[in-house]
Every structure is written in structure tokens, then in C-alpha cells.
Amino acid sequence: MGIAIYMLAFALLVVGIYGVIAKRNVIKIILGILIIDYAVNMLLVLVGYRRDGVAPILSEGQDAKAWAATSVDPLPQAMVLTSIVIGLGLTALMVAMAIRLYQKYGTFDMNEIRKLKG
């Protein structure tokens, strides 16, 4: 059970990579990248997971020690947030580039977007 959930994250990662490699449509490639992003984010959250853990927020009147013994790991959640922000920036850039590519080439098909050799 424990390992299966990690496998799910990796399966998602593989789906994303498949999308990036096999699809020739710019938009689908961007979606593949996003799936990869979310797979990694999920892995990060899972790493901090603890069975029956509570949210890592210390509320008023709570004993800090007892709370720390039951809460999930907050650090991966902070990392996920950072990673989401990076993903947001990347998505905006990718979409902007896709639109520009469409303006220049008149297509979203990567097979036709090849003015460069190689």
C-alpha cells in the first residue's frame, strides 16, 4: 500500500513524458509538461505524508510538542508551493510562446515547425 501511492506519482510522470515525446501538437506538449509538473508536486506532498497526520498548522492553545508528533511534514508543502509558483511562471511563458509560434507558423503542429535543422 505504501509504495503503491508513490508508483501512482511515477505513473503520472511517465504519462507526462509520453505526452511530451509522442505528441506533435504544441498544446498537447504543454499539457504533458503540466502533467509532469503535477506528478512531481504530488510526489513532494506524498513524501511529507504521515498516516493520520494533522495539518501542519499550530492553532491557539495547542501543545507544540504533541502537535509536532502528529502533524505531517510541513517542509515538502512549502516546497510544493514554490514548485507550483515556478510551474505557473513556466506555463505562462509556454503559452505565450505557443501563441507566438502560431502567429509565425500558422500551425500548432511540431512537424511543420521546423525551420531549424536537427
Partner: protein, 531 residues
């Protein structure tokens, strides 16, 4: 002195933000033109006077950074904890590490950045919205400084991403079809690489409960160096970083992305980005986090050799000057990784640490030299392209007479990358080849020597077509590049010449401490073999 270290990141970032704000502040700009949207856009562009102020600000920020980097070289710097709430035991806080290797990298990054921004003073005038270029440039420089200063894995990843995102935007800066295509390819591959790096970082965190590199290194043996989880993390990290370093199976983006960018950015990307984000991080991870084992050493050596050979052969067939330079970057980066790989192999098998040190020294020296001469070549290709309007070698010719300063500097760069004796490239290649031979890797040494000959051929071709002979049609009307561009070129040419001559003092001051960083951690791992 400790307080100066965060400034290396803060100054460029702050300057970038101020630049954006200043460029958009109303008042000094021309009055908003009446009418529709396009006129409004035109009016919001800052006037030429403000352009100069903004460029000056960008130059000043990079210059300040370079001075800080030089000042830090001899300084004795301890642990720096961001926010002041960490200590060595718990390693909870975010740590900035300014050790010998980081100092060396910071000097290289800011040197190339300074020259590139001086060069772009004149070069970028043909583009609109130069302030955007300068802001992105500063972000990229600051982020690269962050990469080399970061003491924990996650911050390294974040800074890698900042540097990468700004470089994607910079490659596409011209917004022509080819540039967009190259940038999109670079963006997709780079993002996949970063995702893998994050996977590796995540797994290492889950295994050790720490992100601090030193701490992870300390705790990894308890997990087991060869446990499947560690190997998975290592595979993800090495794969992702090799992609960033454009090692050969992962190099597809580089020959498109580097030539498509504006010349100062090509110089930054080839000169420092693939090194700071790729090779430096690779070396850090292998030597200081995972600890060198024979498997990692074998991977590094294989990547290095294949990149070296394939890069050279691909470069030989190129007619496009910038593409040739880009392929040659792959090949030269291969040298560095190969030297590191052999050093890691020696350390893992308990070989002579002095020879390992020699290999690392060769690698680091080549890294420095490559930053100098490849940037020089890319910048001179930029000024040649600007003056002749072509990048094809066959259409150039006779530039020695038309553009004396540029072609002289270009020649110095070409001679030094080809490994002609008094220049720096000769010494670094010689040291690497000697190191390989002493390490008992005679085949690798022979291959390295062979690739050096190939590189020589490649640059003889450049000289023959571009600089010698009668001026062709494109070159006939070429004139010398503007003064600021020449200043940049001459500065780098001087670095190329001086670094070759001042090899020994440089080793004591700069490269020795950097070498010890990579060797030292390994010493702890293998039980503190004393040299």
C-alpha cells in the same frame, strides 16, 4: 565580509526590479501620444536618454557584482545562514555556502556577465524594449550566482529554474520564427530536466530528512550508497543535470538555442549557464552530496567522452558560425566532465589523490578558460553578424582588413580554444590530458588529444573562411564594430592571454581552494586519506 555574499544575488535582482520600475515610470518619458493602442504602446517606450540611464544601471549592477566577487576571493567566509536561525548541528535554516568552488564560479559568472553587458550596450540597440533584455539578463546573472552559492538542494533547484526561465525568454527575445522554435524546444527539454532534478531532490529529502547538502552527504551512508532509492535519486539528478549541461545524449536543444539568442546571451548561455546550471551542479551533486563512487564516475566519464567526440564531429561539419560554436561548446564541456569523472574514479577506488587533484584542477581551469574564450568567440560572431549580416562562414572572408579589432580578438579566442601553446586553452587541455594519462586512462587521454586536434582543425576552418582571403560580397561593406563592443572583446582576449601566462599564481589563489572543496568532502567519505 559575510554580509557581502547575499548581495551577489540581491544586487542583480534589485537592479532588475528597479530597472523595470524606472522604465515604466511616467513623467520623464515622452508624452503619451494621442489615439489608439499602438500609439500608446509606442509612447510608453522610454526615450533614448532614459535608455542610456537604464543600461548604465544594469552595467553598474553587474560591475558591482564583479567587484564583490573579486573581493570575496581571498576572504575567509564561514557558514552563512539566511535569517540567522540555523546552526551547523541542525542545519534547519537556508545556508549559503561560499567555499572555494563557489568563489571561483562567482568570479567566472560575473566576469562573463560584465563583458556581455558591456557588449550589449551597442549590440542591443537594434532591438526594442532593451530594458526588458537587461532586466532578464540581470535576473539570469543573479540566479546563477544563487545556484553556485546555494547550500541546500532545493534552493539550488529554485535558482536553476529562475536562471532557466530567464534564459528561455532571452533566447526568444528577437521573436523571429527560428528563435521562437529554438526557445520552445529549449523550454520543453529544460523543463523536463528540471522536473527530474526535483524528483531527485525529493527522494533525497525523503531518505535523509534534510535538504542541506552537507547534511545529506553525512546521512546518506546510513541509508546505504547503493540502495535502490538512492540510485533512483542519483539517476534522476544526473539525468536532469546532464540535460542542463547538454551532455551528448541530451544535447538536442543546445545547437538550436545558443545560436538563436542575441550574441551577448549566447555568450552567457554557452559561457556560463551550461556550466553553472549543469557542470557545476553535477560536480557538486556527485562529489559533495552523493559522494563519488565508481558508478557515478563511469557515468561522468562516459558522458564526457561521448560529448567530446560527438560534439567535435558535429561541429566540424557546420557552416554556420554560431552553430559551430554551439557544437564546440558541447565538445569542450565534455572535456570538463571527463576530467571530473576520472577524478571521481580515482577517489572512489582510492587512487592517488594528487592525480585526482590534478584532474579536477584541469577541469576547473578548462571551465574558466572555456567561459572566457567561448564567450569571446560568441561575442565576436555577434559583431561579425551585425556588420556583415550573415552567419555563414563561406559568405564571410577578408574580415581581418575590414574589422581589425574584432578579428584579432576572434583569432585569439580561436587559437586559445584550439590549444595553441602560449594561450590558456593549451594549458588546460594539457593538464587534463596529463591528468588522464597519470590516472592510467591512456585511451581516454589519447581520445582527448585527438579531439584537441579536431578542435584545431575546426578553428583553422573558421580562420580560413571568415578572417583570411579576399573580402566577399557580405564582408565588403563591413566596418569595425562600435567601441563598446570592441571593449568587451578586448577584455576577454586579455583574460585569455593572461590566464595562460599566470597559470601558477592562479592555481594557488583561485583554483586550489576550489579543488579542495571537491576533494575534501570525498576525503571524509573514504576515511580521510591525507595527501
Amino acid at each position: 565580509m559575510d554580509a557581502l555574499v547575499p548581495l551577489l544575488v540581491v544586487v542583480p535582482f534589485g537592479a532588475a526590479f528597479i530597472l523595470v520600475a524606472l522604465a515604466n515610470l511616467p513623467g520623464l518619458a515622452r508624452r503619451r501620444a494621442e489615439g489608439g493602442e499602438s500609439a500608446g504602446d509606442l509612447a510608453s517606450a522610454p526615450g533614448p536618454r532614459r535608455h542610456r540611464v537604464l543600461s548604465l544601471l544594469a552595467c553598474a549592477a553587474v560591475l558591482a557584482n564583479f567587484i564583490i566577487a573579486l573581493a570575496l576571493l581571498r576572504a575567509d567566509i564561514g557558514h552563512i545562514y539566511v535569517g540567522g536561525w540555523g546552526d551547523e548541528k541542525s542545519a534547519l535554516g537556508i545556508e549559503l555556502v561560499c567555499d572555494g568552488l563557489a568563489k571561483l564560479m562567482v568570479v567566472i559568472i560575473n566576469m562573463v556577465a560584465l563583458v556581455s553587458i558591456i557588449f550589449s550596450w551597442s549590440y542591443m540597440r537594434r532591438f526594442t524594449k532593451v530594458w526588458l533584455f537587461e532586466a532578464l539578463f540581470l535576473l539570469m546573472t543573479g540566479a546563477m550566482n544563487g545556484v553556485v552559492l546555494a547550500g541546500d538542494l532545493f534552493n539550488m533547484y529554485v535558482f536553476l529554474e529562475i536562471a532557466a526561465i530567464s534564459s528561455y525568454a532571452l533566447v526568444a527575445f528577437g521573436c523571429e520564427a527560428e528563435e521562437l522554435e529554438a526557445a520552445f524546444k529549449y523550454l520543453i527539454l529544460g523543463t523536463v530536466g528540471s522536473a527530474f532534478i526535483l524528483v531527485g531532490v525529493t527522494i533525497l529529502y525523503s531518505l535523509t530528512g534534510h535538504l542541506n547538502m552537507a547534511k545529506v552527504h553525512e546521512l546518506l551512508p546510513a541509508v546505504g550508497q547503493t540502495s535502490p532509492a538512492v540510485l533512483l535519486a542519483a539517476a534522476a539528478l544526473l539525468g536532469g543535470l546532464a540535460l542542463k549541461a547538454a551532455m551528448v545524449p541530451f544535447h538536442a536543444w543546445l545547437p538550436d538555442a545558443h545560436p538563436s539568442a542575441p550574441a551577448p546571451i549566447s555568450a552567457m548561455l554557452s559561457g556560463v549557464l551550461i556550466k553553472a546550471a549543469g557542470i557545476y551542479a553535477l560536480a557538486r551533486i556527485v562529489f559533495n552530496v552523493l559522494g563519488p563512487t565508481t558508478e557515478y564516475a563511469a557515468i561522468l566519464m562516459a558522458l564526457g567522452v561521448v560529448s567530446m567526440v560527438v560534439g567535435m564531429f558535429l561541429a566540424l561539419g557546420q557552416q554556420d558560425f554560431k552553430r559551430l560554436l554551439a557544437y564546440s561548446s558541447i565538445s569542450q564541456a565534455g572535456y570538463i566532465v571527463l576530467a571530473f569523472g576520472v577524478a571521481a574514479h580515482l577517489l572512489a577506488t582510492g587512487g592517488d589523490r594528487n592525480i585526482a587533484g590534478l584532474c579536477i584542477f584541469g577541469g576547473l581551469f578548462h571551465l574558466f578558460n572555456h567561459a572566457a574564450f567561448k564567450s569571446l568567440l560568441f561575442l565576436s560572431s555577434g559583431s561579425i553578424e551585425q556588420q556583415t549580416g550573415t552567419r555563414m562562414l563561406k559568405e564571410m572572408g577578408g574580415l581581418t582588413r575590414r574589422m581589425p579589432v574584432t578579428s584579432f580578438c576572434c583569432r585569439i579566442g580561436a587559437l586559445s580554444i584550439a590549444g595553441v601553446p602560449p594561450l590558456n586553452g593549451f594549458f588546460s587541455k594539457l593538464i587534463i590530458i596529463i591528468g588522464l594519462a597519470l590516472a592510467g586512462q591512456l585511451v581516454l587521454a589519447a581520445i582527448a588529444a585527438g579531439v584537441a586536434v579536431g578542435t584545431l582543425l575546426m578553428y583553422v576552418k573558421v580562420q580560413r573562411y571568415a578572417l583570411e582571403g579576399e573580402p566577399s560580397g557580405a564582408a565588403a561593406n563591413a566596418r569595425e564594430a562600435p567601441a563598446m563592443m570592441c571593449v568587451g572583446l578586448v577584455l576577454l582576449a586579455v583574460v585569455c592571454v593572461v590566464a595562460g601566462l599566470a597559470l601558477l599564481p592562479l592555481r594557488d589563489v583561485v583554483f586550489g581552494p576550489a579543488e579542495d572543496v571537491l576533494l575534501g568532502a570525498a576525503g571524509k567519505l573514504t576515511g580521510g586519506l591525507t595527501p
